[in-house]
Symmetry: C2
Subunit: 415 residues, 2 copies
């Protein structure tokens, strides 16, 4: 159990955000991105209104799209038909940001024949550059006309920035005997840090779940998935996780913390945890995934703080890149985690598909074979295991190594 | 005034930790470092006992030398004769760490003909590798025999790890008509972050200052110098700042917060602020210094938090390396600073010896000439100016850019 959520395996299926009944998607290049082969504008719409839940960046600088999305969800009693999203420009710190974000919703709504408040909006890309609305205005009808139940990858491509791979997943599960589906897409890949980053995450489901529980499930799961993801310690201005449930699966609406609710939450954890891993693995310049588990913690927050401290340490990250089993850096990162625990009781190990090695016990490092350690670190998924031996709480955090490519990408991002 | 300290200019002089009367130093290669041209063992000793003040890492994992130093200072009523220090091995997370740190003091004390408790100890280098005591035992008499009033650079060289330049400074000032001197040496250069890092800092003075005020002055100055330094966000296990005052200048001992105390504190700020700048500029792989000032803050802690947030952001650091005026990243880093202030009233500017450009006002970015910005960012000292316009407090923070070399150095540190 992580944060009261049971970790279950689910069968994955194709379809991403279109896997659930009644969700159409599309994406195209409208010209914000000079590379015509890369989409920059996406649209995902449900056939009927959805209950919606959302989590946004904690940054004081909030992208204008977030302000508009909040207002529209409020205007519709927490419900929405879908969203329009663009990459290449974050529409943030601009004098006309809200105006442009509203215009995007108006354009999409007009093309769909619905009200502007029934659509929400998200943007990702460069901050503090005026968003040109013309390319969007000129392509929005084509975008709406091309919506299809198979358009998930076009939309997933549209939200990518420096991502090198598309991130989507979908699963099937049963609620009260009805088959339900849930799918998600996400984009990273820099500026990713606890409390989210320029991650845009959209999850769709045909399960019928009441608004209040939908938000509770999302908040509980975000805490132990996206908020445990760190690529570089930067928290972006535009992060948005949006969960839409249109109820078309026909199950009786989940309105209490029943067994059905637990299954739904486990499915949501599975979807978001896997997207989180994909985001970490495709972190800017990353060559490998680092997953750190902190078990035996006195409470959940301590477990999260310790695990995150390790995956965000630039020195740990650089050592992982160099396959250098410099474990002192792991102990050091555990030690400066801002949490209250007794460091002398902990045990630490490292593992990968190539084996496992214990590195710390009884208040001191353990000698280990450098050869074995290098073999372990040569895998592309590295696991760090911490057991504090002072409680039952546990949590995981995900990150990636720090590479030359991270510096190259971010030394000259805008050109 | 920063934290109640007046920022004054002082005349700098030669001599580093030997500038003040009665301080001898030496350094040599004892074999911990395979490069025979690089010292790895240093010793600094005062002719008479000194009042001492110290600040240590906040990391829960504390190097054994710190435990021994604390015990020895306590045993001598907060006084000491000097210190022995080594690089290449941090003597941390080792089962025999305290034993070895004690042995270093015993060896030095024997060679000097004093008690082991009269000497303190510091180590820096790789964590969780057993420290071989033999090379130290074999060279400690040579080390003590070679102590001289001109040995400061030999000692400063001994504490360097990945530092590319030696860091020392000394100043002259007057207390009650007596000429006093103060000098310092420091080593960085990775694992440097607010609340210190593998920074070892030793400051010597011949001014006579009471123990209590010595500690107060050091704590007040550390808060706005070393603790405002960030190279990579990692806080080390071995950080130590040691301030020793032997009173040989002959001034009446400073025992109240008099004008003399204020002058002493300004001198200490000048010495430590300049060492801080040297550490930032020589951060691992750094090609330039970033100094961020946050003025107009409601209180000091807010000013520090905001300024530190900017200099530690990997995205800001990467952009500075690439001379990319991606100011959105600066606004973003200000926005996620964990402090309570109104972001819409702030103004932001960037400058260097090549000019100045305003980049943010009235809640939005300001358009600026990219050419001009690139020219500004091509300097090797970049200044970021933030005015929150909501109070009188201000603070500075220092960092460096994030470069390919940082990754190279840390991808394979131990070999």
């Amino acid at each position: 159990m992580i944060n009261g959520i049971e970790e279950k395996q689910f069968a994955t299926i194709e379809g991403g955000v279109c896997a659930a009944k009644g969700f159409k998607a599309n994406g195209l290049n409208c010209g914000l991105n000079k590379d015509k082969n890369k989409n920059d504008l996406g649209l995902v719409v449900s056939d009927v209104m959805c209950n919606a839940a959302a989590v946004y960046t904690t940054n004081k600088v909030k992208g204008a799209p977030i302000l508009v999305t909040k207002a529209h969800l409020a205007a519709c009693g927490g419900r929405t038909r879908g969203f329009i999203a663009n990459s290449k420009n974050a529409n943030t710190c601009n004098i006309d940001g809200v105006e442009k974000a509203e215009a995007m919703c108006q354009l999409a709504a007009k093309a769909l024949g619905i009200q502007p408040e029934e659509i929400v909006v998200a943007s990702t890309g460069v901050i503090a550059q005026i968003l040109p609305i013309e390319p969007i205005a000129e392509h929005v009808e084509e975008l709406a006309a091309g919506l299809s139940y198979e358009g998930n990858q076009k939309a997933a491509n549209a939200i990518m920035t420096t991502d090198t791979v598309m991130k989507e997943i979908a699963v099937e599960f049963e609620l009260d005997g009805k088959s339900c589906r849930m799918g998600g897409m996400a984009k990273g890949s820099g500026m990713i840090h606890p409390n989210m980053a320029t991650t845009l995450n959209f999850i769709t489901t045909d399960a019928a779940v009441g608004s209040e529980l939908l938000q509770k499930a999302l908040s509980d799961v975000v805490k132990v998935t996206y908020n445990c993801l760190s690529v570089d310690g930067d928290t972006s201005t535009n992060d948005t996780v949006l969960l839409m449930a249109n109820g078309l699966a026909g199950n009786p609406e989940v309105t209490s913390e029943s067994e059905e609710y637990k299954i739904f939450k486990s499915a949501l954890y599975f979807v978001m945890m896997n997207l989180t891993r994909m985001l970490a693995k495709d972190g800017e310049g990353a060559s490998k995934l680092i997953e750190c588990t902190c078990a035996g913690a006195p409470d959940l927050d301590t477990a999260i703080t310790v695990a995150r401290s390790v995956v965000r340490s630039p020195l740990v990250k650089s050592a992982m890149f160099g396959r250098d089993a410099n474990c002192g850096r792991i102990f050091c990162a555990i030690g400066y985690a801002e949490a209250d625990f007794d460091i002398d009781r902990m045990e630490v190990a490292m593992s990968s598909e190539n084996g496992r090695v214990e590195v710390y016990r009884d208040g001191a490092g353990i000698e280990f074979s450098e050869e074995k350690a290098e073999e372990i670190l040569s895998a592309d998924e590295i696991f760090i295991h911490i057991d504090l031996h002072q409680g039952d709480a546990y949590a995981k955090a995900w990150g990636c190594d720090l590479t030359y490519d991270y510096v190259r990408i971010n030394g000259d991002y805008r050109t």
